[in-house]
Amino acid sequence: MTRLLQSGTQAYIKNFSYDRPEHETVDLDATPLGVSFVSDRETACAGLADHPKLPPTKPFSSLWLRAFIESLVALILCLVVVSFWVLRREINEFRATQLLFPTYCTSLHDGKSMIAIVAPRLSFESQRKTHLVQNDFSTELPPTRLDFPIDNPVCIDVASNGENLFVGTADGTVYCVDLKGTKSLTVLRDSTIGGYPLGLASSQDGKTLVTLDLTGLYAWNVEIGNYEQEPGQGHQRWHQRSEPVSCFAIFPDSKTGVCCRTNQGQIELAEFSIETGEIKLIIERMPSLIEKLTISPDGEFLVCLMQSGEINLFNRPLSSELWKRCVIPGLGTGSSFIASFSPNAAILITSDMDGSRLVAWNLAEKKVEHEFDVHYRNSVMMGCEFLDDNRMLSWGQDNILRVWDLHAASPVREVKLQQ
């Protein structure tokens, strides 16, 4: 007769025999539920195994190893998911950054050098910053980074005498940098006034700087020594806050400017006084907002790049007070907001419909003079400016700057702005 006995987690199977008493110990890794009398041993063992407790786990047993591998795989999967999310987020942020911090170049008016705002690259840094570089095209040296303590420049202009560089930064500060003398910095406007500068332009005589932000137009006295009591406001001449202004430009006479403003629901192209900020003349009511205004160096032509993509050209001979529309066949629309006059005011550069070409218009003969295939395949063409009457710069958001020979209509040099 076989009998099952219990002791802790061990089960004893005892064979009762009158002639040869013996017992067998079997560790079943299970707590026997009780003592029972059974006729054969196999049934007794199977009955116990139906109700097992989990075996005591030991470190590095297969259960731990399996859980470890599962955890590792889950961590790697989560890393992949987070990486995709991060990549998408970074690319979206980068695109927004490109809109906020566009690449922009301006000539130093010496016929050989320029200063550029270099847009930040796509990177996984927590802070993306723009910076300024200067390039001298009379040498083969690469652009040099300007180490002014200016954070995130977003718009720049150089006075026509090349003496002062004006820099607007993302926090709203506007600096005047003395390029010729001690390279000293003057804060024309501190960040407590206004906000993100949408544009700035220096008058031809270099005495006035006009800035634009969402609160309107400001004019600043550039001449050093014109401080008043309030810090940061000492240079302010006037602030025209009556109507929203989308863009502006200053005439070469340094006395008047032109702006696109919204007045009682009407979009107006208007002339204003640089001295007082008052509107002097409504040139024309426009059907849509103007994105960019460009005035020829002689002050006779005014180009309006409409947000709709339309290009309007106005002409005012020096002897006249009135502007009239100037029609050039084919000068209709452009996808990029690009317009630049040559220093002798004979050529106007605009972009074509799809933004892949620059078109040079002969203003006297009212025809296309040249076309430039700019090849910004993986980027957006951002602008162009003349170095002199024969050479032109074009740049894209990829921070590549090209120098063009105007008559050969071919690039003569390519400069990577990124440092």
């Binding site: 859980a67 599962e70 961590l75």
Partner: protein, 108 residues
């Protein structure tokens, strides 16, 4: 226990377990992303000590974070397999805590 209840518990545990790991990975990413300023803004004393030990760099902190996450999730999985109720009783509050951490990281 009915099969449907077992299935529900399995699903709940798996969700909580993966969520805990996911938040830990996101936390690790943020440490790496803000590595330039993490020494100034980190609030975990152990993290601060590890950053100091690595001379302000984040590799030691991130390695310890990853290793700790794997160890904790392994232990949690083993606990669940030994006793499902105990495993869930630990995993769900931990996942809620991680959710709070995620909100803190996002909005604080």
């Amino acid at each position: 226990m009915s099969p449907s209840l077992i299935k529900t518990l399995n699903g709940l545990f798996t969700f909580a377990w993966i969520f805990i790991i996911l938040v830990s990975v996101v936390d690790g990413y943020l440490v790496w992303h803000f590595r330039a300023v993490i020494a100034q803004v980190e609030q975990n004393p152990a993290g601060i000590a590890m950053l100091a030990m690595a001379g302000g760099r984040v590799w030691l902190f991130l390695s310890a974070k990853s290793f700790g996450t794997i160890l904790a999730s392994t232990w949690l999985m083993v606990t669940y397999r030994k006793n499902a109720i105990v495993g869930i009783a630990i995993a769900v509050p931990l996942a809620l805590f991680q959710f709070g951490l995620l909100l803190f990281l996002r909005y604080a």
